[in-house]
Amino acid sequence: IAATRAVFRRELLLAGRNLGDTLAPAGFFAVGATLFPLGVGPSPDRLAAVAAGVAWVLALFATLSAAERAFQDEAEDGGLELLLSTAAPPSALFLAKAAALAVTAIGPLIPVAVVAALALGMPIGAAATLCIALALAAPSLASFAALGAALTIGARRRGVLIGLLTTPLLAPIVIFGASAAEAAATGMAAQAQLLLLGAIACAATPLCALAGGAAIREAVR
């Protein structure tokens, strides 16, 4: 337990020291959200129609770009072997890294996403639902993204590979999250989608912890 907490605190500390790196995904989100009206045209109806989906897809991309850094330095300087030599089970270490990813990558995303959604014409109630949906999905988004990072430690072309591997697993989250914001935008209740997002988070986190622990162990063999 102490090792897990130490890993989590260390990740947060490192993220706080390299604020430029940590806030880069949020910056990427903002840039992407700016590009969409430029590409799709400024018509408010069309933008409002796609706002929920755009926000969620950009959140996915931003999380994946943050995940690429997740196990990078440990793999390079041998910190992974040191971590695994502690008494903590590898899945707990993986969960610590995934939780840190959730806080450092998805945490800054949520306010940026809400602002971007409002800028794309989403009504305020729907933007609030989007915020809640992102928060509910943060554990599962971070778990799958960290799993992708753990599986590709030491691989060539790691960034693209993480995207290819985790997209099939993250697709349901994006579907339900965008559907929640969409439902709220049209005035319907988004409770079912939000409950499903929470359920996916509850189911995905232990599954990814198990798989991620195995992936970290494979990486040092």
């Binding site: 799993l147 599986l151 590709t152 030491g154 691989a155 060539r156 072309r157 590979l161 290819l164 591997l165 997209t167 099939p168 697993l169 697709a171 349901p172 579907i175 599954l207 990814c208 798989a211 195995a214 992936a215 494979e218 990486a219 063999r221």
Partner: protein
């Protein structure tokens, strides 16, 4: 596989000798099932009362989809056997199975699109079943990419095993997608506990083609496993010769 002890097949030498006689049996069986299946399906079975002659794509599309899902289950089984029980042939089996499954998924998607254009009026629709089968295709591609992404083969295979096991959750989603969501895709009419709701004149060629596809998958897989084992032996021999110099 009655009478064949699967533990006995764990010995690579014994598996190689098994595959040498078993693979052609699968292949011949596939041809023996495909010939009447295609004849009945393409020529003598009745056209659908709504769709006309285009229903005949079903005799290729449905078996391909079934084998695509079955191949993923086999891939996950091979991955589990390699990771959990350290089966000596698990790595080889998984590496051999993934491209076949990917090809079958592609066939199912493409024939489905060809079928959808005249009957639904569109090549593609983002409903639950089509999307989840597309995700299955990406899972296969990701598995293949991960296997080849490392300089050391064994590392890539182990990572890919974990990915294969995590992706198994997609299989129930595909299976039940037509029950859980309102989709454009046809609901299940064969795999129900009551009698299938499809006429025997169409059911027989469908089952024959399904048997043909499954036997074809078996033939492909066994042959690819043999090929992979041979290629590993050749590479090991090359390494030994290099070291001996």
């Amino acid at each position: 596989m009655t009478g064949v002890n699967l533990h006995a097949l764990a010995n690579p030498g014994r598996f190689r000798r098994f595959a040498i006689w078993a693979a052609p049996i699968f292949g011949v069986g596939a041809i023996l099932c495909a010939a009447p299946g295609l004849w009945l399906g393409l020529f003598t079975s009745p056209p659908d009362y709504q769709q006309g002659e285009t229903v005949r794509i079903m005799y290729v599309h449905v078996p391909a989809a079934w084998v695509a899902m079955f191949a993923y289950a086999c891939l996950a089984g091979a991955a589990a056997s390699a990771l959990v029980w350290r089966h000596p042939l698990g790595d080889v089996a998984a590496r051999a199975c993934a491209p076949i499954g990917a090809a079958m998924t592609a066939i199912a998607l493409i024939t489905g699109a060809i079928w959808g254009q005249p009957t639904w009026g569109t090549w593609w629709v983002w409903d639950a079943r089509l999307t989840s089968v597309l995700l299955l295709f990406f899972l296969y591609l990701g598995h293949i990419a991960l296997t080849h992404a490392f300089d050391e083969d064994a590392r890539g295979e182990r990572a890919a095993h974990i990915l294969a096991l995590v992706g198994v959750v997609n299989l129930p989603v595909i299976k039940f997608s037509v029950d859980w969501w309102n989709t454009l895709h046809q609901p299940a009419s064969v795999s129900r506990f009551a009698a299938p709701s499809i006429h025997p004149d169409m059911l027989t060629p469908l089952l024959l083609m399904a048997a043909a596809f499954f036997l074809f998958f078996g033939w492909c897989w066994l042959t690819r496993i043999r090929a992979e084992m041979l290629s590993r032996r050749r590479r090991a021999g090359q390494r030994r010769r290099l070291e001996a110099q």
